[in-house]
Structures are given as structure tokens and as C-alpha cells.
């Protein structure tokens, strides 16, 4: 009697459990079809040769001089815009807080959101109209006797591309670092001052150690953000700059110089660097979250 009641109770629960899994099916299927399967295909392809045999040989392709260069370029581009965007974003973030005005801060956050989202083709063209050969700033500087392009600058180069990337990297840093800056308690500074710490000593022994993990975490995201970016670079240079995303797009558009496996290896190389950044960011963010409480 007792046992039958229990099993009678369990049956609907089990049926309900099956229904829950059934309800999750479309979501899981969509993820499988459009996210996991493509990813697995890249991993599989990177380990197989054209004839279908298993081999890690494709990976030696990454070490060929032709393929090291795009990675070097991408690292240089990401690292430089990470540093410039990171440091300027940090300073602007602090300036927004130091202004002491809620309105200024809200405006700063709004402007930053807009600028961080204003990327890709429109951004590339906005910069051509501004810093291109006949751009507004180029002509203005020429009027002052400064010949940008004569001095060797061109928007259609790595330096030019880095200049454009800075436009979305910098505001992204502002958005990412503001919470950490806001979590800095005034009391910590007062306590340090009461104990005789000067401004520099407070920065060195209190502010920097607390902020550093957040700053590094945010900068890792900036690095990944630049490393995977394709649209802006393509629109600006129509695909002749040798950076990793552009190389991969050449594989997709059917460049015969590439084996499919070699394209996969490029993609895995790019994903690997992105993964380091994301894992590092998540780990650091978890460590710092205790400062952000309350």
C-alpha cells in the first residue's frame, strides 16, 4: 500500500522530468546546430588532411613565416589598442567619477555605450571622412602647415587601423572599469590618510593593488575584442592587411592558396587566443567581485 502510493507519486514526477527535457529540446537543438556543430567542425577539420586522414600536420602551417605574420600583426594591433584604450579609458572613467556630477556620469556612460557600439563599416567610413587623405582633420592640419600623409601617416595601415580601433576600445574600457572605480570606498582613502599616507603612497599601496585585477580583466576583453574584429578592418582596407580575421575571410571566400584544414587551423589559433582572454577575464572578475560587494 505504502509502496504503491510512493510509486504513484513518482510516476508523474518522472513524466514531468521527461517533459522538461522535451521542452528544452528546441533550445538545445539550436545551440547544437548553429554553435556547437560549426565549432566541432573546425576542431575536426584542423586535425584532418584533405584526404580525410587524421594528422596534426596542419598545425605546422601556423608556424610558417606566412602565417606567423598575420598573428604578429593581430597581436600588435590588439595589444596597442588595448594599452591605449585601457589607459585612456581608465583616466576618463576616473574623470567621470571625479566630476562629482551624476548628470556628467550618466552622459559619459551613454556616450561610451554609443561609441563602443559604433563599429564596423560605419566607423571605418567616418574615419575616412575625418582622417582620410581628404578628411576634415587632415585638411585642418594641412591648413596649419602639418602634412599628416607627408609625415608618413596613412589611415590604411596598421597604425591607421589602430587609430580607428581606439575609437571603440576606449569607451568599452570606460564601461568595463567604471564599476571597479565606483567600488573604491572613500573610507579607504580617508583611513590611509589618517594613518599618514600621502596621495602617491595611497595610490601605490591601496588603490593600484585593488584596481589592478579589474584593470587587467577589462584589458583582456579589449584585447579579445580587437583580435576577433573583422568588419572595421575589412571596410577600411578592403582586406589587404594581413591580420588573422582577414586571412580567415580569404579562406571563406575561396582563396585557392589555402587548404580547408589550414583555414581551420587559423580559426583554432584565433579561438585559442580568445579563450585565454575570456578565461583570464572570468577568473580575475571572480577574484575581484568581493571588492564590488555592497
Amino acid at each position: 500500500m505504502n509502496a504503491t502510493t510512493r510509486s504513484a507519486q513518482r510516476a508523474p514526477t518522472r513524466r514531468r522530468g521527461a517533459l522538461v527535457w522535451l521542452a528544452l529540446l528546441p533550445f538545445g537543438l539550436a545551440i547544437l546546430l548553429f554553435l556547437l556543430l560549426p565549432t566541432l567542425s573546425l576542431v575536426w577539420g584542423s586535425f584532418h588532411l584533405r584526404d580525410g586522414s587524421f594528422s596534426p600536420a596542419n598545425y605546422t602551417f601556423l608556424l610558417s613565416p606566412d602565417q606567423i605574420r598575420p598573428f604578429q600583426n593581430s597581436v600588435l594591433l590588439s595589444a596597442s589598442t588595448m594599452l591605449v584604450g585601457g589607459i585612456c579609458g581608465l583616466v576618463i572613467g576616473q574623470a567621470l567619477l571625479s566630476s562629482g556630477s551624476l548628470l556628467v556620469r550618466e552622459l559619459g556612460v551613454t556616450f561610451s555605450s554609443v561609441a563602443a557600439n559604433f563599429a564596423g563599416v560605419p566607423l571605418a567610413f567616418a574615419f575616412i571622412a575625418t582622417l582620410g587623405v581628404a578628411g576634415l582633420v587632415t585638411r585642418f592640419l594641412a591648413g596649419l602647415g602639418i602634412d599628416l600623409y607627408g609625415a608618413g601617416f596613412t589611415l590604411y595601415s596598421m597604425v591607421g587601423l589602430a587609430t580607428v580601433y581606439a575609437y571603440f576600445q576606449l569607451p568599452l574600457m570606460v564601461l568595463l572599469i567604471l564599476p571597479a572605480l565606483q567600488a573604491m570606498r572613500r573610507e579607504w582613502r580617508e583611513a590611509a590618510e589618517n594613518l599618514g599616507a600621502g596621495r602617491w603612497y595611497y595610490l601605490r599601496r591601496v588603490a593600484i593593488p585593488i584596481l589592478l585585477p579589474s584593470v587587467i580583466a577589462s584589458m583582456l576583453l579589449l584585447f579579445a575584442n580587437a583580435f576577433g574584429a573583422y568588419a572595421t578592418a575589412y571596410a577600411l582596407t578592403t582586406g589587404f592587411l594581413a591580420i588573422v580575421p582577414i586571412e580567415i575571410s580569404n579562406v571563406i571566400s575561396g582563396d585557392v592558396n589555402f587548404d580547408p584544414g589550414q583555414g581551420d587551423v587559423l580559426a583554432i589559433g584565433l579561438a585559442f587566443i580568445m579563450a585565454i582572454c575570456v578565461v583570464g577575464q572570468v577568473w580575475l572578475q571572480r577574484r575581484t567581485s568581493r571588492w564590488m560587494q555592497r
Binding site: 522538461v20 548553429f34 551613454t110 564596423g120 567610413f125 574615419f127 571622412a129 578628411g135 568599452l172 568588419a231
Partner: protein, 284 residues
């Protein structure tokens, strides 16, 4: 593309910081004013450059190019195509994610780490890699041939927007007590569908709204997948127009900037109703 996780923490931190902000030492320091003035100039310079190019023939101010750009059938068609993809993906994403996130929260909390991993994966697989993978599986030489089918692009966009959509909805779900709400509804005789649609959805509506806005904005500006799969969406059309009609294209750049503004403002408005819903999307 990145940042939603950190930004989520940010927005909740902001509300608690509001009270503290007013308590500055009277006058803001000179260095911060200088920094902010320079930043504002930096922010507006590319827009000024674009406007100067779009609205003048060298000396004379004109709206001719804007009018031409806006009335061009190709431009209109591309904006509509982008909007079509944006709306359909947004609907698909919300319909797939919202009930699933609710069920996982309620019945299968053990699945949460799996979902956390899967929804962070698109950060590791940026659009350019996703396109390559999709081409391999569904392209000409793929296992299933979906070449030319809009399903492929919508599917890719679903993957692309998954982190934002899931995060926004999941944050909203965590902010309400899903378990108690569900039990209360069920004890009053409501079935699971009714509970979800009439109790849960209204209580996470701001989360759903901001998820939808984030997905919509991301797709309106998406270039990589569309261009490599051969769809003339708005950014793709813009890129093709620039060579031949650059002043018209410049005026459309300003239109695209306005779209970005509007979506950011819309998101801020939604967020004002619920601080947990505030998120930042950056579409590359």
C-alpha cells in the same frame, strides 16, 4: 560583443553608488574637466568629419546627398532586409531562450554551469570563425546544404546574440523568486504554460525587452556573417556604396549612427525601469 558579464555587475553597482556620487568635494578637479572636454571632442570628431563630407559639396551646405541616400531603393531595401533579419532572429532567440532559462532555473539548476559555458562560447568563437564553421557544416561542401537559405543566417545570428539574450533574461529571472511564483501559481491551479506566460513573462518583461533590444541592435549592424554569406544587408550595402557614391554613403553612416543612438537610449529607458536589466552590447 564582449562585456555583458562585467557590465551586468556594473549596472547593479551603479544604483548603489548613486547616493555616493553627489558627495564630491564641491568643485570638480581641473584635470577631470580637461579630460572630459578632450574626450567629448574626440567623440564628436569622426561624426563632424562625416557630416562635413555628407552635407557639403566643398563649399555649399546641402541635404541633397542625404535625400538621395535615403530615397535610394537599394538603401531602403537593405535597411528593410536588416530589419527583417533582426526581428526574426530576436523573436527566435527570445522564444527559445526565455522558457529554457526559466525551466533550467526552476527544475534543472544542475544544467546551469553547462549553459554558462555554452553562452560564453560565442565570445571565444567570434563572427568570423562562426562563419567559417557554418560554411563547413552547411555550405556547398557541407554535410547539410543550406546555401542561400535565410535559416542559416538566422541560426548564425541566434548563436551570435545568445550571450546577451541569455544573460539579460537570466539576470531578470534571478531577480524574481521564480520558485515561489511558480508554486503560488500552481497551487492556485495554473498549468505550466499559463504560469509561464501569465506569471513569469510579465515579471521578467524588462529583461526580455532589453534582451530583444540588444539582439536587434547587434543584428542591425552585423557585417561579417551577412557579407560572407552574400546578403545585401544595411552594413553590406553601405560598404558597396562607398566606392561609387561616397557622399550618399557618408549620409547613411550618420543614419546608422542615429540608429545606434536610439537603441542605446531605448536600452537606458528600459534599464531605468529595472536596474538588473541593464546591459551593454557591443557589436563588432
Amino acid at each position: 560583443m564582449t562585456g555583458s558579464r562585467a557590465a551586468g555587475a556594473f549596472w547593479s553597482a551603479e544604483t548603489s553608488g548613486t547616493a555616493r556620487a553627489g558627495r564630491g568635494s564641491g568643485r570638480p578637479p581641473a584635470w577631470s574637466l580637461a579630460v572630459l572636454v578632450v574626450s567629448i571632442v574626440y567623440f564628436f570628431l569622426p561624426l563632424l568629419g562625416t557630416a562635413a563630407f555628407a552635407f557639403s559639396t566643398g563649399k555649399v551646405f546641402t541635404l541633397e546627398y542625404l535625400a538621395q541616400g535615403l530615397t535610394d531603393p537599394d538603401a531602403l531595401g537593405s535597411i528593410l532586409l536588416s530589419a527583417g533579419f533582426a526581428v526574426s532572429t530576436t523573436v527566435v532567440a527570445v522564444v527559445l531562450v526565455a522558457p529554457s532559462a526559466y525551466l533550467v532555473e526552476l527544475r534543472l539548476p544542475g544544467l546551469r554551469p553547462v549553459l554558462d559555458f555554452v553562452t560564453i562560447l560565442p565570445f571565444v568563437i567570434p563572427p568570423i570563425i562562426l562563419t567559417l564553421g557554418l560554411e563547413e557544416v552547411y555550405g556547398i561542401r557541407g554535410i547539410f546544404n543550406l546555401v542561400g537559405s535565410p535559416v542559416l543566417l538566422v541560426g548564425g545570428y541566434f548563436a551570435l546574440t545568445l550571450p546577451f539574450v541569455y544573460r539579460a533574461i537570466d539576470n531578470a529571472l534571478r531577480a524574481v523568486d521564480v520558485r515561489t511564483l511558480t508554486e503560488a501559481a500552481e497551487s492556485l491551479g495554473s498549468g505550466p504554460f499559463r504560469t509561464f506566460l501569465r506569471v513569469i513573462v510579465p515579471s521578467i518583461s524588462t529583461g526580455i525587452l532589453s534582451a530583444a533590444l540588444l539582439a536587434f541592435t547587434t543584428i542591425m549592424g552585423e557585417f561579417t556573417l551577412a557579407s560572407l554569406m552574400g546578403y545585401a544587408t544595411f552594413p553590406v550595402m553601405l560598404n558597396n556604396t562607398y566606392a561609387s557614391a561616397s557622399r550618399e554613403a557618408a549620409s547613411l553612416v550618420l543614419v546608422s549612427f542615429m540608429i545606434t543612438w536610439l537603441s542605446v537610449l531605448a536600452l537606458a529607458l528600459v534599464a531605468r525601469r529595472s536596474p538588473t536589466a541593464r546591459q551593454v552590447a557591443t557589436a563588432r
